[in-house]
C-alpha cells in the first residue's frame, strides 16, 4: 500500500492532483480537508450526471478520484463507493479516493436519503466506471494493435491477455479526462468475478476517527473566521420586540449582535464568548401559544383539516367485505413526535468573497441546499458553492441545513467568514421533527380466521420529499419554501400480503405542530408498526401462530425466505400469542414482524424478545433477530453495522422517546428530558444476511428500522396479553395497561 491507511489527507492530496486537467487547482479539490480558502470561480470540471468525467478522474499517479453526490453520513457509504469503483476499474482499493458532496465538483445525485446511496448513487458510479474501463480498453487496443476483447485490465494497467507489455491507465488518458457520456448499456463486471464487492472491507474513515485525526464539520476552520451562536425565540412564533445590546457590551471580542426580523444571533472572535453572549443577551419577545396542548395531541391531529386523500392501495371491496366478515377488529395506533437526536449539534461555516458564497456544511443535500441559499441571499445558484464535510450522524434531515442558513445570514451581516455551532438546546428544540402519526385500522376475518378485508386510514401531514424550509430564512423573513416536507411518508401504508379486499388511505393534513422532516425510515416505520401490529391482533383473534399466519398470506418467495430464516435463528416456537401464563412478575415474550420496503425492494423480517416487569411496567429488549435480503451486498460488515444501528435506535424510539412541548415551544431540550437508550439496556442484535450477488443492490440504511416497533408491540402482547398501541411504550403506559386487565 502506497499511503498509510491513516493518511487520508495525503491520499486526497495525491488524488486531488489528478484533477488538474480540469483547470482546477489541487488546492481547490483539497478544500474538504485543508484550511485553505476555496475559490468559487473557474471550475470547468463537468458535473452533469450523463458525463463520465463528472464521476471520476484518472490520475497521473495511477490513482482515481471518484466524485460522489451521495455523502457518507456515518453509514460507511464512502468505503462502499470506493469498493464499487475499484471493482469496476480493476484497481486496488487504496488507489481510489472519494470526494463527496461538493457542488462545484460532484454531480447532483439527489439528496442522501431514502436508502438510495448504493442502490442509485453507487450504481451511477458503477456505470460511469464501467464506461471508463471500456474506453480504456478501446484506447489500449488502438495503441497496442490488439483487439479490445483480447485485452484485460488489472491493477490500473491494460495488457494483452496473451501476455506482453501493458499500458497504465494514466498513460492512456494523459490529462485524466475521458470526454465521454456514461453508457447506460455498458456491461458491468459479472458478479462471479468480484474481488472487492461483497467483501467486508474495513472502513476508510475509522482509523482517523478513533485517533482524533478526523476533521468533522465541527472541527473545520477557515482563516479569518469568527464564531456565532443563535438566540432563538422562546416560543416558535414569537416576534422579537426589542434587544438590549448593552447586556452583552462587556463580552470580550464581541463583534456584533445581529438582528434581522425575528432572527437574532451574536458574533464574537472566540467561540466561548459567543456562548456567554447568547446566554446573557437580553431580548423581549411577544407571547405566542400556537402549539396544541400536548395531552390532547391526538384529538388535535384528528381535528386537523385534511387537504387530500392518497389512496395507496385498493383491491376488491373492503367496505362490503367488512360487512360480511365472520368477525371484525378495529384499533387505532399512534406514534409520538420524535427528534433526530444527533450527538453533535449542527454546525456550518459561510464566507462571502468577491460576490460569491461558499458554505461548508454537513448537509446531506448540498446541491439542494445551494438552491435554498441562493434563494435566501438573492445570489445566482452559480455563485454559491456548498462543500460537504462530514458531521455528526443525522438520521434524516436534522439541523445541518439550518445551521448553514444561519451562517450565511451572519457572514453577510459581519463581512467575515462565520462559523455557527448550534447548542444542544438549539438541536433538540429547532431541528425539524418527525411528525405525529395516527392510524385507524379495521379488519374482517373469514370463518377460518384469515383476513378477508382490511381498511386503514393514516393521518399524516401533506407534502413529499422536497426541501425543508430554513429556520434563518423563515425568522428573518427572507425568501424560503413554505410547504411541508416530511419525506415520502405514505410509503408502506399498503400491505405486502395477498388479502382479497383492501383499502388503505392516507389523509394528508394541512398542518402539523412542528416543522416536519424525514427521520430515518420516515413513514415506513410508523406505517409498518401499525400494519404489522394490527395483523398480529388478527392472528391472535384467529388463534393462529403469528409466523404461520403471515406465511399463509404471503406469496413472495423472497419475503417467505426472510421470515422462515428469522424464525430459524430465533428458534421460534409455533403457538398463538399470548403465552399461556401471563401472571409472573417478570413476563417474557417474543414478537415477529416483516416488511418489504416500499413494497418494491429490501426484505426484512425480525423477532424481538422482550421482558416486562409487571410492578414497574419497565420493558427491556434483550435480543433482537434480523434477517435481511437487500439483493447484492457491497460490504456485509457495513450492512450489519447499519442493521445494528436501525434496531438499537428504533428500540430507543419505541421504549422511551417523545418530544415534550408546551403551547409555545419544545421543552425537552437536553438528554435528561429527551432520554435515549443507554448501554445497560441495549439489545443484542443477531443478524443474518441473504446476499444475492447477481441481483441489483437495494437500500440497507433504513429498512430494518421499519420492523422494530411492531415486533416489540407483538412481543409485549405475547408476554402480557395486553396490546400497546401508543409509542413510546413507557413504563407508565405499560403499567397502566397491565393494571387495566
Amino acid at each position: 500500500m502506497n499511503a498509510p491507511a491513516l493518511s487520508r489527507r495525503s491520499l486526497l492530496l495525491q488524488g486531488g492532483a489528478l484533477v488538474v486537467g480540469f483547470s482546477l487547482s489541487a488546492r481547490d479539490a483539497l478544500a474538504q480537508q485543508t484550511f485553505a480558502p476555496v475559490a468559487t470561480i473557474g471550475f470547468s470540471k463537468p458535473i452533469a450526471t450523463d458525463q463520465v468525467d463528472s464521476f471520476l478522474a484518472l490520475g497521473a499517479d495511477g490513482r482515481v478520484t471518484i466524485f460522489s453526490g451521495k455523502v457518507d453520513l456515518g453509514t460507511g457509504v464512502q468505503t462502499a463507493m470506493a469498493q464499487i469503483a475499484a471493482e469496476e476499474l480493476d484497481l486496488p482499493l487504496d488507489r481510489v479516493v472519494v470526494v463527496q458532496g461538493d457542488t462545484a465538483l460532484t454531480p447532483d445525485q439527489a439528496p442522501t436519503y431514502g436508502s438510495l446511496s448504493i442502490q442509485k448513487g453507487g450504481m451511477e458510479i458503477r456505470q460511469a466506471a464501467a464506461t471508463a474501463r471500456a474506453r480504456l480498453l478501446q484506447l489500449a487496443s488502438e495503441r497496442l494493435g490488439v483487439p479490445a476483447d483480447a485485452l484485460l485490465s488489472e491493477n490500473g494497467v491494460v495488457r494483452p491477455r496473451a501476455g506482453g507489455q501493458g499500458i497504465d491507465y494514466a498513460d492512456l488518458v494523459k490529462d485524466g479526462r475521458l470526454d465521454l457520456k456514461v453508457d447506460p448499456a455498458v456491461k458491468t463486471k459479472d458478479s462471479t468475478a468480484f474481488t472487492l464487492v461483497g467483501k467486508s472491507v474495513a472502513r476508510i474513515d475509522i482509523p482517523e476517527k478513533v485517533t482524533g485525526r478526523f476533521t468533522y464539520m465541527q472541527d473545520y476552520r477557515v482563516p479569518g473566521m469568527v464564531h456565532a451562536r443563535v438566540v432563538r425565540p422562546p416560543a416558535i412564533g414569537a416576534s422579537l420586540e426589542s434587544v438590549d445590546e448593552a447586556s452583552v457590551a462587556d463580552v470580550p471580542g464581541l463583534i456584533k449582535v445581529v438582528r434581522q426580523g425575528n432572527f437574532l444571533a451574536v458574533v464574537t472572535e472566540k467561540e466561548w464568548a459567543a456562548v456567554k453572549a447568547a446566554e446573557r443577551l437580553k431580548a423581549t419577545w411577544s407571547k405566542w401559544e400556537g402549539l396544541p396542548e400536548r395531552d390532547k395531541l391526538w384529538q388535535h391531529v384528528r381535528a386537523t383539516k385534511v387537504t387530500k386523500d392518497d389512496v395507496t392501495s385498493s383491491t376488491g371491496d373492503a367496505g362490503a367485505a367488512l360487512g360480511q366478515a365472520a368477525r371484525t377488529l378495529e384499533a387505532s395506533y399512534d406514534f409520538a413526535i420524535h427528534t433526530h437526536g444527533s450527538i453533535g449539534p449542527s454546525c456550518a461555516i459561510a464566507e462571502f468573497k468577491d460576490g460569491r458564497l461558499t458554505c461548508w456544511t454537513a448537509s446531506q443535500m448540498t446541491h439542494a441546499l445551494r438552491k435554498q441559499l441562493a434563494a435566501m441571499t438573492g445570489l445566482e445558484p452559480e455563485a454559491v458553492r456548498c462543500i460537504y464535510i462530514e458531521g455528526s450522524g443525522c438520521y434524516g434531515r436534522n439541523g445541518h441545513e439550518d445551521a448553514a442558513g444561519d451562517a450565511v445570514l451572519l457572514a453577510r451581516a459581519v463581512g467575515r467568514p462565520v462559523r455557527v455551532q448550534w447548542s444542544r438546546a438549539d438541536e433538540h428544540g429547532w431541528d425539524p421533527k418527525g411528525p405525529p402519526t395516527l392510524i385507524d385500522l379495521k379488519a374482517g376475518l373469514d370463518e377460518e380466521g384469515r383476513v378477508a378485508a382490511w381498511s386503514s386510514q393514516f393521518h399524516v401531514p401533506e407534502g413529499a420529499a422536497g426541501n425543508v424550509p430554513l429556520v434563518a430564512a423563515d425568522l428573518a423573513g427572507l425568501p424560503h419554501e413554505t410547504t411541508m416536507s416530511p419525506g415520502n411518508i405514505i410509503q408502506n401504508s399498503a400491505l405486502p400480503y395477498a388479502i382479497p379486499n383492501v383499502r388503505t388511505v392516507c389523509h394528508r393534513l394541512a398542518s402539523t405542530p412542528f416543522r416536519p422532516s424525514w427521520i430515518r425510515t420516515p413513514g415506513r416505520m410508523q406505517n409498518t408498526y401499525a400494519n404489522e401490529a394490527f395483523l398480529d391482533e388478527c392472528a391472535a383473534a384467529a388463534g393462529a401462530d403469528p409466523l404461520e399466519y403471515r406465511l399463509r398470506a404471503l406469496k413472495d418467495p423472497r419475503g417467505i425466505e426472510v421470515l422462515k430464516r428469522v424464525a430459524e435463528i430465533a428458534k421460534w416456537q409455533a403457538r398463538p400469542s399470548p403465552v399461556r401464563d401471563v401472571s409472573g412478575d417478570v413476563l417474557r415474550g417474543r414478537g415477529i414482524s416483516y416488511v418489504k420496503y416500499e413494497l418494491n425492494r429490501t426484505y426484512v423480517a425480525g423477532v424481538a424478545e422482550i421482558e416486562v416487569e409487571r410492578g414497574t411496567g419497565r420493558v427491556r429488549v434483550p435480543r433482537f433477530f434480523v434477517v435481511q435480503d437487500c439483493g447484492q451486498i457491497i460490504n456485509p460488515d457495513g450492512v450489519r453495522n447499519q442493521i445494528d444501528g436501525n434496531v438499537i435506535q428504533t428500540v430507543s424510539r419505541v421504549l422511551m422517546e417523545e418530544v415534550m412541548f408546551d403551547r409555545g415551544a419544545v421543552t425537552s431540550l437536553d438528554w435528561a428530558s429527551y432520554p435515549i437508550i443507554t448501554f445497560p439496556d441495549v439489545p443484542e442484535v443477531v443478524t443474518d444476511l441473504i446476499d444475492r450477488p447477481s441481483e441489483k443492490p437495494w437500500g440497507a440504511g433504513e429498512p430494518s428500522a421499519a420492523i422494530v416497533p411492531s415486533a416489540i408491540s407483538n412481543a409485549l402482547y405475547d408476554a402480557t396479553g395486553v396490546r400497546l398501541r401508543s409509542v413510546p411504550f413507557t413504563p407508565a403506559k405499560v403499567k397502566a395497561a397491565l393494571q387495566a386487565t
Binding site: 493518511s7 475509522i206 478513533v210 456567554k276 450527538i343 455528526s392 450522524g393 447499519q642
Partner: protein, 156 residues
C-alpha cells in the same frame, strides 16, 4: 483581561490566553490548541463526547472550567492516547471491531473505556456496559463498542 495559562496537554506544555476563567477546558483544547479528539456534544456533561483524561481519570471537559485545573494536571486527549504510529490498545480494538458509525461519540467511548481498563483491567460485559452508561451513542454502535473494549481487555 486575558489570563495567561500553562497547561500540560499530551505531554507538552501549552500556553494559552483565556478571557474568562470559566471557559470550559473543551474550548481551550479545541479552539486554542486545535485538537479534534474531544468533541462538543451537549455542554452539559450528559453525553460524554468531550471526555479527556486528567491525571488518568476520565473527565467531561465541557463542564470543567479551565481555572479549576490543579497546577501541573496532566491532560491527555484522544490524540495523546495513541496515534496512527502507535495505537493505544483500545483504539486498535475499535478499528479491529469496526466500532464506529458516524464516530462522533467515539472519543468519549475510547477515553472512558481506557480509563476503565486502567482501574479494572479485566471487566466483564456488565461492568463495561455500566461504565459506559453515561456515554451516549445515537448511531447504535453499542454492541461493537462493548466488543472492542472486551477485545482490548483480552476478554473477548
Amino acid at each position: 483581561m486575558a489570563q495567561e495559562m500553562s497547561l500540560d496537554v499530551n505531554g507538552h506544555a501549552a500556553h494559552v490566553a483565556v478571557d474568562d476563567p470559566e471557559t470550559p477546558l473543551l474550548y481551550v483544547l479545541r479552539d486554542d490548541l486545535g485538537l479534534h479528539g474531544p468533541r462538543f456534544g451537549c455542554g452539559l456533561g450528559q453525553c460524554g463526547s468531550c471526555t479527556v483524561h486528567i491525571d488518568g481519570r476520565a473527565v467531561r471537559s465541557c463542564i470543567m472550567p479551565v481555572s479549576g485545573l490543579k497546577p501541573g494536571a496532566k491532560i491527555v486527549t484522544l490524540e495523546g492516547l495513541g496515534g496512527p504510529d502507535k495505537l493505544h490498545p483500545v483504539q486498535a480494538a475499535f478499528i479491529k471491531e469496526q466500532a464506529a458509525q458516524c464516530g462522533y461519540c467515539i472519543n468519549g467511548m475510547i477515553m472512558q473505556s481506557a480509563a476503565l481498563l486502567n482501574e479494572t483491567p479485566k471487566p466483564d460485559e456488565a461492568t463495561i456496559r455500566q461504565a459506559l452508561a453515561q456515554n451516549l451513542c445515537r448511531c447504535g454502535t453499542h454492541q461493537r463498542i462493548v466488543r472492542a473494549v472486551q477485545r482490548a481487555a483480552g476478554t473477548l
